[in-house]
Amino acid sequence: MAILNRKKKSLEISSTDASENAIANKETEGLSQRQIVFKRFVRHRAAMISVFTITFLTIFVFTALNFRIGPWHIHGWWKYGIGDIPELRYKDCPSGNVGCPTLSIRPGFLGGKHFGFGEHPFGQDDIGRDYFALVMKGAQRSIMVMFIVGIIGGTIGTVVGAIAGFFRGTVDAVLMRFTDFIITIPSIIIGSVIGFHFGNLGATFLAFYLGLFAWTGLSRLVRGEFLKLRELEFVDAARVAGASNRRIIFKHILPNAVGVIIVSVTLLMSGAILLETALSYIGFGVVAPDVSLGLLISQYQDSFTSRPWLFLYPGFFIIAIALSVNFIGDGLRDAFDPRQRRRLSLKDRMSGRTEKKGE
């Protein structure tokens, strides 16, 4: 009896497998690879939410404060900058605190004030600086570090991995030993050494240096991908047609490896945010006159019991940014993975079944 049951089950599975395949194939009919990937990505709900979050956050954060590009000064929409020292607010604060936050998100009918930013949404720090402005500045730093590390690390990793994987032999051996070499230096140690000695040169410089040491994992992955792809027929075909090495690398192999690259660059970026904040936290990253989320947390962790907002808000921003980037990476991985089959909803199954009957 048990055997019979199992048999029945496996039969069921195989038949649904076939129909699922049919639906999946139908879905990708007549679409280019890029369109398929895009379609899959758009369907990943968490990833789409994250894309909107990160875009919104970036615009929100970067337009908040005054900005200078060369000779132009662009005014931010927020009234305070990080240099302004308004008077410390002490009215309406619970239990004799000063500089409490005025942000109110509880709507009026639930007993709160109406939604509004108020004078100092995230409160004020010890000397009265507007904490919202400080957090915005810190978030700007984090996002900037993230992109710089992503771009630099991504470029170096791709180039090194591509060259090693494509040319193999001595070039490969030399480049991979060089990669091993960089891997032996733990990122937090090199980051601290760099950050401590060059941290006062600014966050951009720090990010630049971190990027120079962050590419190792990526280059190994790209190398593996290139080793695999260069043996395939389309590369032979291109070579027979007389394509140069450069053309083969950039036109034929790289587009096929782009999935792996993009996914690991996103992971690199979310790692970079955490590394930068961690370095600033232990005092080896961005240093005092400058502002960073990690630095803010480290400055105000002791005031957590009395003024928790000074500690919580920077943390929320770190999490929001890192979480969005991670989810985008996850969505991209799913989108690029050809084996990934979407979970079919009941509707799809039904439509698949009716079509089959109609055939």
Partner: protein, 509 residues
């Protein structure tokens, strides 16, 4: 052997680079040069002589290297720190602290991560899977220092306050019971009716248990006693047997149940031994006896196929020993709470041991060490467990799609055998290599955790080295972490090829 040579060259090269980078980027005498102290000049001269500061960095590197190369003749010399102490002495004190800090967290993270990873893979695309995916991504994005402060506040301080009057309010009981109900219903799952049933059973069970514990003020004076111990032992016997060989295997079940009975019989003798010979060796000795007993019992019950049955019995014995040990520590709890050093607030937020506590009593100091480990362990576990969940889930899903799993199912093997024997073992291959590398990397990674919780380990040495331009100290920390990571990578490669015969080391070209 060739690989080992290459690794040495790599280590040599990267240490050379770091040495020079660190040496040219800071001047250890800077503070003294601008100082107006009369002895400053003298100090500059001494430091210059001791640390060979008059030698240019690339050449100075070889002076340092000469000390390191003493490794091969059994006398390693990391040079002296700025204040004249031998670096090797400092490192010797720091390493055990760091290892103590990270080992527990890593083990907990691995066990929890793999378990939850397996469950999420088996329940792919269920609500539980989505929830765990979200949670693990969230944990993955958390900065450890931020979590640590939150834990200190919400876990340690609240729990300590709660212990002053250990009754759980009704609201919390309801919240905890529904949470555990949702969790277990998600893990076991099934059709809708079954899910609701499960939720009800687990929630009511947890609620009643918490209510009893709260009413009897169990949290102030916890303990298991022989009865609960026996019940837990029987539970462990069933659990271990099911996971290890399946409940259908009667000899294995009998062997494990015998182990539970033996655990009950030996309860009082064990307590006696614990009381009169409180040493680590006693614990280890008892554990060895238990394992030997397990092997004997397994052999006795097994007619055929001895290996798995002996293994099951030994595993059960191990679990029961852990429970017994836990019971003993719980008995120490009340006297521990009552000491002046603790004063009723047992969960510490900082430090690695309570210096006010009388260290002469073995059980007290063990409990103290463990209590100091609680918060850092939770923080580190939360951070690193997410990675294991994702990795295990991904690998297991890939394995489950493989043809040999289909073959195993087609042969008519039970689902347990398919998953534990065919799928899980193949999942372990890539996992092992990740774990090995992680263990090495975590020594360097505990820098932040150490600084938040005020432990004096490798991380503290490292921070001290950087901020005081102490090159020898910095290089010692670097040398240890780098060699560990290099060795771990080598070990991972070798393990991988040992576990997976398809892969040949050295055939990379």
């Amino acid at each position: 052997m060739r690989r080992l040579g290459i690794l040495l060259v790599i280590l040599f090269g990267s240490s050379f680079i770091l040495f020079n980078l660190a040496a040219i980027s800071g001047d250890p005498l800077e503070g003294l040069r601008t100082s107006s102290e009369p002895s400053a000049k003298q100090q500059i001269i001494t430091l210059t002589r001791e640390l060979h500061l008059n030698v240019p960095p690339p050449a100075r590197y070889f002076i340092w290297l000469r000390g390191i190369l003493g490794l091969f003749v059994g006398k390693i010399d990391f040079g002296n720190a700025r204040n004249g102490q031998a670096v090797s002495g400092l490192v010797q004190h720091a390493i055990p602290v760091t290892i103590r800090l990270v080992t527990m967290a890593t083990v907990v993270a691995i066990v929890l991560g793999i378990t939850i990873g397996i469950v999420t893979a088996l329940r792919q695309y269920s609500r539980f899977d989505y929830a765990m995916t979200f949670v693990s991504f969230l944990l993955y994005s958390l900065p450890v220092f931020w979590v640590a402060v939150l834990l200190k506040q919400f876990l340690a301080i609240r729990f300590n306050t709660f212990l002053a009057n250990p009754t759980v309010p009704l609201g919390w009981i309801i919240a905890y019971s529904s949470l555990s109900g949702i969790f277990w219903a998600g893990v076991i799952s099934g059709n809708r009716k079954r899910v609701f049933q499960l939720f009800g059973i687990v929630a009511v069970g947890t609620g009643v248990l918490l209510e009893i514990l709260s009413a009897t003020k169990w949290f102030a004076d916890p303990g298991l006693g022989p009865v609960v111990l026996f019940a837990a032992g029987v539970g462990a016997a069933f659990g271990v047997t099911q996971v290890s060989v399946g409940l259908n295997n009667k000899p294995a079940l009998k062997a494990s149940l015998t182990m539970a009975v033996l655990g009950l019989i030996t309860y009082y003798p064990t307590q006696f031994a614990f009381k009169h010979s409180p040493h680590l060796t006693t614990i280890l000795g008892l554990l060895a006896i238990t394992l030997a007993l397990g092997a004997g019992v397994g052999r006795f019950f097994a007619k055929v196929d001895q290996g798995p049955i002996i293994r099951t019995a030994m595993l059960t014995g191990f679990v029961i020993s852990l429970i017994t040990l836990l019971d003993k520590l719980m008995q120490t709890w009340a006297p521990y709470m009552a000491t002046d050093a603790i004063n009723g607030r047992p969960v510490p937020t900082i430090g690695q041991a309570n210096s006010l506590l009388d260290q002469s009593d073995f059980w007290m100091s063990t409990l103290d060490t463990l209590m100091h480990l609680v918060l850092p362990t939770i923080a580190l576990t939360l951070i690193s467990f997410a990675g294991y969940v994702r990795f295990t889930r991904g690998t297991l899903l890939e394995v489950l799609n493989a043809d040999y799993i289909r073959t195993a199912r087609a042969k008519g093997l039970t689902e347990r055998t398919v998953i534990m024997r065919h799928a899980f073992r193949n999942t372990l291959i890539p996992l092992t290599t990740i774990i090995v590398v992680d263990f090495a990397g975590i020594i360097g990674g505990a820098i932040i955790t150490e600084s938040v919780f005020g432990w004096v380990g490798m991380g503290t040495l490292f921070r001290q080295a950087i901020s005081s331009f102490d090159l020898n100290l910095l290089m010692a920390v670097f040398f240890i972490t780098a060699s560990l990571s290099v060795l771990a990578n080598l070990l991972a490669d070798l393990l991988y090829s040992a576990l997976d015969p398809r892969i040949r080391v050295g055939a990379g070209k």
